[in-house]
Assembly symmetry: C2
Homo-oligomer: 235 residues x 2
Amino acid sequence: MLQGARALVFDVFGTVVDWRGTVLRELADLGLSEAERVSFAEEWRRVGYAGAIGRVRQGDLPWMLVDELHRRKLDELLPRYGLTRLSEAEIDHLNRVWHRLQPWPDAVEGLTLLRRRFVISPLSNGNFALLTNMAKHGGLPWDCILSAELFNAYKPDPATYLGATRLLGLEPSQVMMVAAHSNDLKAAAALGLPTAFVSRPLEWGAGTTPEAPPEPPPDYVATDFVDLARQLEAG
Amino acid sequence: MLQGARALVFDVFGTVVDWRGTVLRELADLGLSEAERVSFAEEWRRVGYAGAIGRVRQGDLPWMLVDELHRRKLDELLPRYGLTRLSEAEIDHLNRVWHRLQPWPDAVEGLTLLRRRFVISPLSNGNFALLTNMAKHGGLPWDCILSAELFNAYKPDPATYLGATRLLGLEPSQVMMVAAHSNDLKAAAALGLPTAFVSRPLEWGAGTTPEAPPEPPPDYVATDFVDLARQLEAG
């Protein structure tokens, strides 16, 4: 199937960037203990993002951008952690930490290699401005920005994957989905997209159980983006 | 107004790339005389693109991507110029000359300077894949790709400009429209976007009358993108 792949689209949070490490670092400025920072960051991610996306998909919440979902949860977390003296500008800045997430150490080098051979783009539930700002901040060399916002549909909704292939002017078989998460790859594979699993064992911190590749197996399994570039002969 | 500008969005055909020069060069391979090439290229552009966009905007044609509008006209032009022996693959390749348009000589350097200070993006009626492929082919260092296709509305429809500012997460006053065409800048200015006019006197060939800046005057008038970068202190 590689012969046909013209574009690679990437999950972003956890796959391209280290959301947990970045959020922990920025929370350190607010005077929380390490344990508080971990629980704050992980609840923000698990409930404020992933859980909220699920609620939007089920119709339990109206369509909202990820910036708004993040802010809803942040407004709930701040008083619980005693952070009641932040100004609106400071809260907005903290909410935009998701626009400043740091790439994994191999990401920019690997994407730069892959870009020689393929059109490369994020395909993320993050909103368009978030992904654009993140790329500029982290030096991610995308050819374009594809966001769930463009389709009013959050992954793993089929409309997101098929909307991306349509905008790229390609068939699903020509667009490879790259992710560290099995549910994302399974949804893409079910629509005919080739898939690559990249292991990110540190997404939830050291000592956690790394996510396994999906079943049935993806077309490629890579240790990082440089390894993926080597396997796809894009080096 | 410069203090507030965070992003620059660019008209593309004629402003960033030399459509006429590129199409003329590719037509040269087909055995047409110089006069035939000029009339072919200019009719393709004037009627097959600009005229057809107007017909879509008036409801006289259904919504169609620019790739499709270009192909409709190409299918009419080819037999008129005796080009009846091209294969489907050759016709498709020729139709995609609009994906391969060459940047004006200052464009990559100027955009690279402007990108240091601003988010930069095309804001073109060209379809998303066309703009993405053109950027990759010509080395245009966009931060993202904004196309009328994302809004199902062709410039100068207000929905295109306002859709772009919304996706960028910015107010109209924070997004400057850059174009070589007065009608584009007038429509943007009416919505509160700051504007920059860049002169492209060769768009329709040597010896033609260059388009004048709009009235009322735009916020900036530049001779090329490097000059614009200098004026915006992005160098």
